[in-house]
Symmetry: C2
Subunit: 192 residues, 2 copies
DNA sequence: ATTAAATGAATGAACGTTCATTTTTATATT
DNA sequence: AATATAAAAATGAACGTTCATTCATTTAAT
């Protein structure tokens, strides 16, 4: 196990603080001074780790997005049957959004607003390639509807974000039973 | 035909400007001075129509949300068969999001961020009641899955917002054929 | 003793909001 | 119809605050 350098600890603290504050107040209503205070450093220190505020949130976005992707493809291998593979990935994503609430909420806020510039967004999109490949394979095998990957994503993955938001607001309580039902709906919508 | 008072024209101009600017820059990155300039009034004038900035976006939100709801239930009547009624409402919502892009984009941004305070959000939620009633009827008749209305919404309505965002970013081009396919996916996910 | 890391007060730009003043509109008087 | 007067609407410069960023100085590490 690597012992992280102190500087790396501070960087993580800053990222954690940014996520929390942006979740609660939004990007522009989150002053650098508060981020610094929450991370336990002084205002100027942020600029040793990040160029400026925009660079800070870009880096946070990319970091969280790739944590998400790592989580999404846990236990998944390319050789798998289409339905089995999809189920694993779907459940991973659901689990991430329920376990890592702060990070998931941050992502959904970024993905639905102009906070992140186009460069950061492109960077974040790449990572879902294995899922797109799986869908393509499923379409070749006649298992999955012949619609664009965006449409498949819209009906099978995107709804998870809504469920998470509702749970976050206390309007909904998700348990294993609910999640199984939701998975069935996702699969029913994309299967041929 | 009513001729709107001049003051009402200015109010509408301010609302239109707010939608456009918040869509492009986000709420906090949209100064009152720019809203005023785009609406063709001076900064101080805004405060004759709205208490303050928060009140402005709250009112914009409520106004756009109720325009959306009116659109959603066009040609719908309570006596209808469940599947027919759902199809009409679904297509209305899709049409709104494709025709009234600015307004739809504004709503999706508000619904995924802390811009709108809880009061405004509650106000906006009420309006979907007829759809919730229709779903309840469908569940009684054994036509629709026995899951919470949030879950039904997540899989059948919420995806439309994603498709619209992608079309807005040029990643996707929606035509009548696409939309029919998308409707099938929505129905497949919620039907029993 | 040298280098690197961190600090936090200072700076200047930008913002929301106010209000004394001006401009426009409506009403009354000749 | 023309003019005078009052009321309403609109203006935009000014105010106080907040913010991102900088940098001379201090503290810690090597």
């Amino acid at each position: 196990m690597n012992i992280p350098a102190k500087s790396e600890i501070k960087r993580k603290d800053l990222i954690r603080a940014t996520i929390q504050l942006v979740n609660n107040n939004g990007f522009h209503a989150t002053p650098m001074s508060k981020i610094a205070k929450m991370a336990g450093v002084s205002a100027g220190t942020i600029y040793l780790y990040f160029e400026n505020k925009q660079d800070l949130v870009n880096q946070v976005y990319i970091e969280v997005k790739s944590a998400f992707t790592r989580y999404a493809f846990k236990n998944y291998e390319e050789g798998m049957e289409v339905e089995e593979g999809f189920k694993i990935i779907w459940k991973n994503i659901a689990e991430f959004k329920l376990q890592e609430v702060e990070e998931a909420f941050f992502l959904s806020q970024c993905d639905n607003s102009p906070i992140i510039d186009e460069a950061g967004r492109q960077e974040g999109l790449k990572h879902l390639q294995p899922l797109l490949d799986l869908w393509k394979k499923g379409q070749k095998q006649g298992l999955i509807k012949e619609v664009s990957p965006y449409t498949l994503y819209a009906f099978s993955i995107y709804p998870i974000a809504f469920l998470m938001n509702m749970q976050q607001r206390g309007s909904l309580r998700l348990n294993a039973h609910n999640i199984d039902a939701a998975y069935e709906m996702a699969w029913n919508s994309i299967k041929k």
